[in-house]
Structure formats: structure tokens, C-alpha cells
């Protein structure tokens, strides 16, 4: 018999990749060895839904509130630039004592700060037919654990003139996207983020560094940030005039920064099929103004409401998972959710929004309560309400 070490067949250090067909009895064969980078189960294929300018997160596939980085929603105006981190620089100038430029390594040397919060495109909300998934209706929002340096830390370094009121943030993509931001946000909670969910920010989310304005409309969170100019007035860039503005009673409202509180039930939802009996209704709620304080769920088309359980920890300006236990008796009904945030704001109905803003409403900052119809056969359908 062999006494010398034999070449073992299970010591390969290849990258793990689970084959798409499972063996009849996985307890009878050795599995693949550890590797440098893990992969998903071949039986799980979550994916964003992509157009040529955006992609939507599969909200219905998520069990909690961290969005896996490769499933974070996208909205690009000139695709994803390929930026060499060694060449990257952030310039801060304008109404400052000393204009400065910071390399990525410089940014990382400053005191760092981590915060979990959502980003949501101000144009998030699609409707129109019954066969729509949460991803299709509201997939332009995602959540990450972001790390970076507080913008205020950098502003202390350059010295800001007392008369400064705004700053311009400019991206380093081929759209050179620009937005004007009130300077208060810089002193409050703006972050120059270089970390996402523990690792370096992904290219699609602004590698190597982006502006993060917790709770504010997605477009203002300028990705691939290359420049900040301190100013005493806004610039009225194309993104804050031609875009990200919306009709309100015959006028056009601009500079709506905070994302209004909203919620959506992600389970059950189209195209899921449910069975009579106990159902845990699940979903996410969030507010750009602070913490979610309450999510109510109705299982009778809004006649009565029940407080859902909020998954702790409830964080400010963060997707908050809610759950509500319900016994379905098999009759057709309508389920819906409504969030209240810490400012007392209650998510409105579509009718309330139309009444307040006029019939011409639309485009951006639409956060109505959304309902799902449950058919007697267990089919779940989106309820697209009419308003025009």
C-alpha cells in the first residue's frame, strides 16, 4: 500500500464555480474547493432590468435592505466611464481660500465615515398595466453601506468664503454631469464616497469616488465626481432645469432635493402566486427626510390599516424592511402599504397628489401609495390607477 503522500485530487485553488446541474446525492461527492472569489448558486439568477440608459434593481428578489453591489440600480447619462484610480483627482475651487486637488489616496487618508442609506432616482415610478413587478414599478432605488470622507472635512481644508451658498458638483463621465447643491447639505451630511458595501465603489456607482447626498434625489449624487465649485448662486444646469423639474399647478417646480417618503410591498407581488392561509406581507419603506417611524399595511383596499413590524435597526434615510402577518381567507382583495416618516409626513394616495399638484402631474417625485390586487386563484396583480 502507498505510504508516501499521494497527489490529492481536492487541492485545486481554482476559482469556485458550482456547475448548473446538481448531483443526485450531494452528500456522496466532494464539492468544489474554496477559492479567491465566490459565485452565486447556478439556481439563483437575480438580474437588473436594463435599458440603454438605466437598469432596475430586482426589489422582489431581496430578503433585506442591502442591495448586492452588482444589482444596484443604474442611471447613466453617457455610460460607465473607465477611470484609472491613479490618475483620478478631485478639484475643489471657487469661493475658497485655497483651491485644492485631492488624489484618491488623499481622500482615503482623511477621517472616514460609513453610512447605510438608499439612493433613488427622482424619476422612480412606472405604471400603466397590471402585469408589472416591483422591479418594473420602482426598481430605480437601491441601498448600500457607503464609506468615504465627509465633504465638510474637505471644505474645512480649503476654507469656504462666508458668502458661499451653493456648490456645483461635476462628474468625470462623458456627460460631465453637473448639479447645483445648496451648501448647507455639504455642512450637514454630504459624503465623498469611495467605499460601497465594504469594498471599493463599483464603476457603475461612481468609481473611484462619488458624491453622496443622503436622502436626496439620485441625480444629485454625482458619480465619478471630479470637481466641486463653491458659488453664491446655482448654475441652472440642464439636469436641474430641462430634467428633474415637474409641473405643479401650471408652474414648473425645480430644486426638489429630498425624496418624499414611500413604500412598496414586494411580497406578495406580480407575478407571484399565493395560497390561502398565513402570508407574511413584506416590503420596503424609506424617506429622504429621516427615519421611517411607521408602516401601515391594509389588506382590505385601504378600509383598515395595521402597523407592520419594522426590521431593526431602523436607520435614517434608509430602506427599512417591514413585515406584516396576515391570514388570507381566499377572497379577492387589495393589499397596500403606507409609510410615515419622522417629520410626520404620510405617504399620499395618487388622488392626493393629483389634487395637490394638478392633473398635469408626473415625471419626477411621484410617491403614491401602490396597491396589489389578489385574485381568488392567488394571482397577484399591480393596480395601476388612472389619473389623467
Amino acid at each position: 500500500a502507498a505510504v508516501l503522500p499521494v497527489a490529492s485530487s481536492f487541492t485545486g485553488l481554482v476559482q469556485e464555480e458550482v456547475p448548473p446541474v446538481a448531483p443526485a446525492d450531494p452528500t456522496k461527492v466532494q464539492g468544489i474547493p474554496p477559492g479567491k472569489i465566490g459565485t452565486r448558486s447556478p439556481f439563483e439568477n437575480p438580474a437588473r432590468k436594463a435599458s440603454d440608459i438605466s437598469s432596475r434593481s430586482p426589489l422582489q428578489d431581496f430578503y433585506s435592505t442591502i442591495t448586492p453591489s452588482d444589482l444596484h440600480f443604474e442611471r447613466h447619462h453617457a455610460g460607465i466611464p473607465n477611470i484609472d484610480p491613479e490618475k483620478y483627482e478631485l478639484l475643489i475651487h471657487g469661493m475658497v481660500d485655497r483651491p485644492m486637488k485631492f488624489s484618491l489616496a488623499d481622500l482615503k487618508r482623511f477621517p472616514a465615515f460609513t453610512r447605510t442609506c438608499f439612493i433613488e432616482c427622482a424619476g422612480n415610478f412606472r405604471r400603466g398595466k397590471a402585469e408589472m413587478t416591483p422591479q418594473e414599478i420602482l426598481g430605480l432605488t437601491s441601498q448600500s453601506e457607503w464609506t468615504g470622507v465627509m465633504l465638510s472635512t474637505l471644505l474645512r481644508e480649503v476654507g469656504v468664503h462666508p458668502k458661499a451658498k451653493w456648490f456645483l458638483a461635476e462628474g468625470g463621465d462623458a456627460a460631465l454631469l453637473t448639479r447645483s447643491i445648496p451648501i448647507e447639505k455639504a455642512w450637514d451630511d454630504a459624503i465623498i464616497a469611495y467605499g460601497q458595501n465594504g469594498e471599493a465603489i463599483r464603476p457603475a456607482q461612481g468609481y473611484p469616488a462619488r458624491l453622496l447626498l443622503p436622502g436626496w434625489e439620485g441625480n444629485t449624487n454625482v458619480k465619478w465626481l471630479r470637481r466641486i465649485e463653491i458659488s453664491d448662486q446655482p448654475y441652472f444646469t440642464r439636469e436641474e432645469t430641462s430634467k428633474y423639474t415637474y409641473p405643479v399647478n401650471g408652474k414648473i417646480r425645480m430644486f426638489s432635493f429630498e425624496m418624499d417618503a414611500r413604500s412598496i410591498i414586494t411580497y406578495p407581488s406580480y407575478p407571484q402566486q399565493v395560497q390561502r392561509g398565513w402570508i407574511e406581507i413584506r416590503g420596503i419603506a424609506w424617506s429622504g427626510r429621516g427615519k421611517v417611524t411607521k408602516v401601515e399595511v391594509s389588506t382590505d383596499a385601504g378600509k383598515t390599516w395595521n402597523d407592520a413590524n419594522l426590521q431593526e435597526p431602523v436607520l435614517s434615510k434608509a430602506h427599512t424592511y417591514f413585515r406584516h402577518l396576515w391570514q388570507w381567507n381566499g377572497a379577492e382583495t387589495e393589499i397596500l402599504s403606507r409609510v410615515t416618516d419622522e417629520t410626520g409626513y404620510i405617504q399620499p394616495t395618487l388622488k392626493q397628489l393629483v389634487d395637490a399638484r394638478g392633473a398635469d402631474i408626473g415625471g419626477y417625485h411621484m410617491n403614491p401609495i401602490t396597491s396589489w390586487i389578489i385574485k381568488r386563484n392567488g394571482q397577484v396583480l399591480f393596480k395601476p390607477e388612472k389619473y389623467k
Binding site: 478639484l91 483651491p99 488623499d106 477621517p111 465638510s152 453637473t178 465649485e229 448654475y235 441652472f236 432645469t241
Partner: protein
Amino acid sequence: FIPAQGDYPKSFGFGKTATAADIATVDFDIRPDGKGLPAGEGRADSGRVIYVAKCAACHGADGKEIKGVKLPGPPLVTSAKGKSKTIGNYWPYATTLFDYVKRTMPYNAPGSLSNDEVYALSAYLLSANKFISENTVMNARSLPKVVMPARDLFVRDDRKGGNEVK
């Protein structure tokens, strides 16, 4: 939650002073008051030539909405029948046009236009939208003065927070 910065030194000493040249390379934003507009000028007639060569493929021959046709780029000129939001009916400042075209257009060759070309294209698009005459020269002085009718429609968000639906 936000870190207290009380124990920070006056300066960390990371980063470098940016020179005037560092700034000039990337600072070409334009404000409504004209701040940032470069030297140079252009008129609608030369603008039209550039438009046809470099823009029409995506924005259409005359920049107007064509019913039932989805062009790669949005319409830029308001048409009687079209419902789209265009420069003609939705843009509050002419300076934004220079700024945006200079930094992003043409989409397939962003940042490739000279200042004269952008002035000319601005003149062409502003005259096609009937804000200026065919002969008005666009430059750093004239462009900020163009009056855009949509401007009066724009109001700042005045919501105060709390439980208001507005």
C-alpha cells in the same frame, strides 16, 4: 451619527494646492449671469450647417418631434403639434444650452466642439425656437440676455416639510 469634527486639526495637510492652470482645464461651466462664457461667437446660419452635419442624425433634420418616430436624441425645437419638452418650451436659460452642448454633445463625440461652434449652434437652436432673429450674433455678452419664456414658469420647491402633500 455624523462624526464630530471637534478633535480635527486645523489642517490635515493632505492634498495639493490647485494652480490656475489645473482649474482652467476643467472649469468651463456657465452661469445664467454669463459667468464662465468664453471668447468667441457664432450665428444661426453657420450653426445650421454644423447642426446638419453633427446633430441632425440624432435630433432630426429640423430638431422637431416627429410623430411615431423615436430618434436617438430628444427634440430640441418646439413644434406646433409636438408635446415634448424642448428648449423652446421648457428651458429657462439660454446659458444652459451653451454649457450643456459644450460639455456633452455631440453624444458620440462629447467635448469635441470649439467655442465658436457652440455659439453658432446656440444661435441656430435659439433662432429655430424663435427666441432670437436669424442674424443675432451669440457671444459672451448677448447669450445671457436672451429671454426664455419658460423662465417665468420655474418656481423653487417651497414645501416646508411635515405632513403636507403639495
